[in-house]
């Protein structure tokens, strides 16, 4: 079946602009995660959804970052007033369940965000 998909694959924006990144999880997966990967580093957790609600948003760096998952499937990560330091690859993952068993996470191809 289809894996996790993310759009766009690349996004170039100017400092101060607003961007939205979209994630489509594997069908039937109730848990959805956002991570951010900077060059030369491992991915870092941003936020986790179980169904429609954000179960853990402790990784969001500041209040310019926000994510939603209104129908428990597709999620959108929103970044306001972008800064050059936001440039990174934004990765989305999904898993069958969020807690305990069956928490193997599968990743999408990522969105490469460049803030000029």
């Amino acid at each position: 079946g289809a894996g996790v998909s993310q759009t766009p694959s690349n996004k170039v924006t100017e400092k101060g602009k607003y961007v939205e990144l979209r994630c489509d999880p594997i069908s039937g997966h109730t848990a959805l995660y956002w991570y951010r990967q900077s060059l030369g580093q491992g991915p870092e957790f941003l936020i986790y959804f179980q169904g429609t609600g954000a179960a853990d948003d402790s990784g969001l760096p500041n209040d310019r970052f926000f994510a939603v998952r209104p129908e428990g499937s597709v999620s959108t990560l929103k970044i306001q007033r972008t800064e050059r330091g936001d440039s990174a690859v934004y990765l989305c993952a999904s898993s069958l369940k969020g807690t305990g068993l069956q928490n193997e996470q599968f990743f999408g191809p990522g969105t490469r965000l460049t803030v000029l």
């Binding site: 491992g42 991915p43 179960a55 853990d56 969020g98 990743f107 191809p109």
Partner: protein
């Protein structure tokens, strides 16, 4: 939070050689995954292995949870094995994955 350390940071091999990658973690975990990040950036699932031993073709992995480490074995390496290998763990009180800094593997013909 849980700390994850991977070694070695870099590994250069000739095709056909075997290698062992190590992942140490600082606390009990209920999730441990090994990934291969290919040159295009895609994270490919290799193993979901919070404990025990698994094998998949030329790759195998062992996690000794009580001693807080996991090993990834690559046998008869091929040039397509090149890339970065990440270990990521999840604790009992959290569902997020914490990634190590990775091992960059280069396999030359």
């Amino acid at each position: 939070g849980i700390q994850v350390e991977q070694s070695p940071p870099d590994l250069i091999l000739q095709e056909g050689a075997n290698s062992t990658l190590r992942c140490n973690f600082s606390d009990s975990v209920n999730n441990l995954q090994w990934f291969h990040q290919n040159p295009w950036g895609q994270l490919i699932n290799l193993f979901y292995i919070p404990s025990g031993t698994k094998q998949n073709g030329r790759l195998s992995a062992t996690t000794v949870a009580t001693e807080r480490y996991s090993l990834l074995y690559i046998s008869s390496s091929q040039t397509t094995d090149s890339g970065v290998y990440f270990c990521a763990v999840g604790g009992y009180n959290t569902d997020k994955l914490i990634f190590g800094t990775g091992t960059r593997l280069q396999v030359f013909p």
